[in-house]
Point group: C2
Chain length 151, copies 2
């Protein structure tokens, strides 16, 4: 599995929206500026997440984006799968299973890869956006107490 810039930006943007959940929409430009994300790139990412039902939008003069669901109902696995593909370290879970019984000579190895993907999936499937935001807040407090002016 690999989390690309696209995936990272996607999650960061969702965190931003999660923090303001319930306060209406927020514009691409604002997210891009505050999160240091290239805005045209972010545009495409949000569009893709909208098509997937993670996020909703409103156009016009007071338009912008908001979460389509509450933060505790969005899990990291969903957005990473969407933006960066399957969680398995090689191919997808289905392809690994296919390989295992198509070439039993190396099935043991593929089985280990499957174990790795299951371990990753176990974490990412139960980690909600809400939890990530809470974790972020905890770190911000801890670090903000002694240094660093926000980056």
């Amino acid at each position: 599995m690999k989390v690309s810039k696209k995936g990272e930006y996607g999650i960061r943007a969702l965190c931003h929206l999660a923090e303001r959940h319930g306060e209406g929409v927020v514009q691409i430009r604002e997210i891009a500026r505050l999160e240091s994300i290239p805005s045209k790139f972010l545009e495409g990412i949000l569009l893709q997440m909208k098509a997937a039902g993670i996020v909703r939008s409103r156009r016009g003069i007071d338009g912008g984006y908001a979460l389509a669901r509450p933060p505790e109902e969005i899990v990291l696995a969903e957005v990473i799968r969407l933006l960066d593909g399957p969680l398995a370290p090689m191919g997808s879970a289905a392809e690994l299973r296919e390989l295992m019984h198509r070439s039993p000579r190396h099935a043991g190895f593929y089985e280990v890869l499957m174990d790795v993907r299951n371990a990753a999936a176990a974490i990412l499937d139960r980690t909600t956006l809400k939890e990530v935001v809470e974790r972020n807040a905890r770190f911000r407090k801890r670090a903000g107490a002694r240094s660093s002016p926000e980056v």
Copy 2:
């Protein structure tokens, strides 16, 4: 983390060598043929593993490759790190740590990624080549009993 063809071929070749451990060297061409790996590609991979001390070689008319250490002293993590880079899903463990205290705003997210890399590392650091070969054998028996003529 991503296991590429290079990593897959590397492990498959090592398994091949592990099965014949103690019986002298085996040639690139033979490994390539029996494991369906492009031989020129395999050549480079073996060379890299030799430089890393995983494998040793002998040239000349009866040359070839062999494991540099017994199969129970080679772990998957070592070869995957060598051939495919760090196990973390984004950057390396060190870069993730760096990010966490350099931008505490998203440290929670990076921490989750670190958890994922730790889960992967836990599996791959304790899985030896010997264990993979044993697992392979178990599958071969199970499947060979009812079908498939080796691929």
